[in-house]
């Protein structure tokens, strides 16, 4: 069994410097690794990226994160990723990593992801170039996620980590009109093609924690306002799989 701590949407700023880190004391007694599902910052500035890096530095367990839409807001996403990496945090953007936890190889693949909506109510790759760019971005990310999850074939347990949601279950509580800006079924389709034990995401602050992909993979929305605690802990075994 491994214990995975997960949280999203920290939205740090200079006014809350050090606040989140206080809650990470003792995390090594409760979890083997921490996943952060994006939106570490509010404005996406490098200064906020440094604050986020300081919150997550040397907490006693490996930290794997993706960026969120807020982290892209100032066009400094590459620099933010760099300051996080300098603090020892693994930052995924369409790729994967394997974390060794007490003899178990935990594979995590992911990235920010993007929107588009859910089957039957979604944007199509059709029409104006702007629309094609919108849908094309999600399609291209989903292709990388699919490839990265498949490449984790030497992992004992596989986890998908995104900012945007792969399913609409975990958006319940958000206005349905904005679902296409909160996630895409293309992410779930990619997840369902590998043996994934858990799909973690954030972004939907008014959503709900628990959902499942059409293929039966458990999905958890760990946005801070949803879980209302510093992080949620999920215990997984090599046998954890589809429901």
């Amino acid at each position: 069994m491994i214990s995975v701590a997960a949280v999203g949407d920290l939205h740090v700023g200079s006014d809350v410097r050090g606040h989140y880190r206080k809650h990470l004391t003792g995390i090594a007694d409760r979890a083997d690794l921490l996943l952060v599902a994006g939106d570490l910052t509010r404005h996406g500035t490098v200064a906020e990226g440094r604050i986020a890096a300081d919150e997550l530095r040397d907490i006693g367990v490996p930290v794997v994160t993706v960026l969120g839409n807020h982290d892209y807001h100032s066009g400094a996403e590459l620099e933010i990723a760099e300051v996080l990496r300098d603090a020892g945090v693994t930052v995924l953007e369409g790729n994967g990593t394997v974390v060794h936890c007490d003899g178990t190889r935990v594979g995590v693949a992911g990235g920010k992801g993007f929107g588009g909506g859910f089957a039957g109510r979604c944007a199509s790759d059709f029409g104006e170039p702007e629309m094609k760019a919108f849908v094309g971005y999600t399609k291209s990310f989903a292709a990388r996620l699919r490839h990265s999850l498949r490449s984790l074939d030497d992992a004992d347990v596989r986890i998908s980590l995104t900012h945007y949601s792969p399913v609409k279950d975990t958006l319940a509580g958000e206005p349905p009109e904005i679902y296409p800006f909160l996630g895409s079924y293309l992410l779930a389709e990619a997840i369902d093609e590998s043996d994934v034990a858990l799909a973690v995401h954030g972004h939907a602050h008014k959503g709900t924690e628990k959902g499942v992909t059409p293929g039966g993979v458990r999905v958890r929305n760990v946005a801070l306002p949803v879980i209302q605690q510093a992080y949620a802990v999920y215990r997984l075994s090599e046998a954890s799989g589809r429901r």
């Binding site: 069994m1 214990s3 701590a5 939205h11 700023g13 006014d15 809350v16 606040h19 989140y20 809650h23 995390i27 409760r30 509010r42 404005h43 807020h70 807001h73 206005p175 034990a197 858990l198 602050h205 008014k206 458990r218 801070l224 306002p225 209302q228 605690q229 510093a230 992080y231 949620a232 802990v233 999920y234 215990r235 997984l236 075994s237 046998a239 954890s240």
Partner: protein
Amino acid sequence: MSEDVPQYLAAHIHDRLADEADELGIRVDIRGDLVYLRGEVATPQQRQRVEAIARDIATGRRIRNEVHVVAVLEPEGEETLS
């Protein structure tokens, strides 16, 4: 003035909250001369900032600030996925 039209006013407040406070998740509803703000932010200061932005645009209307500050509680419990 499009600010006189409740729907446009709500949309303009929403836009400015995104632009100036980086808050995308605040719901803005106009009922008569009342502007309701609902959602969650990280700090009391941010809650006040959201209200100030809404007040600046919605001249002549009263603001009902129902925005909550997210409490980050100590982690407890765990879920076993078998």
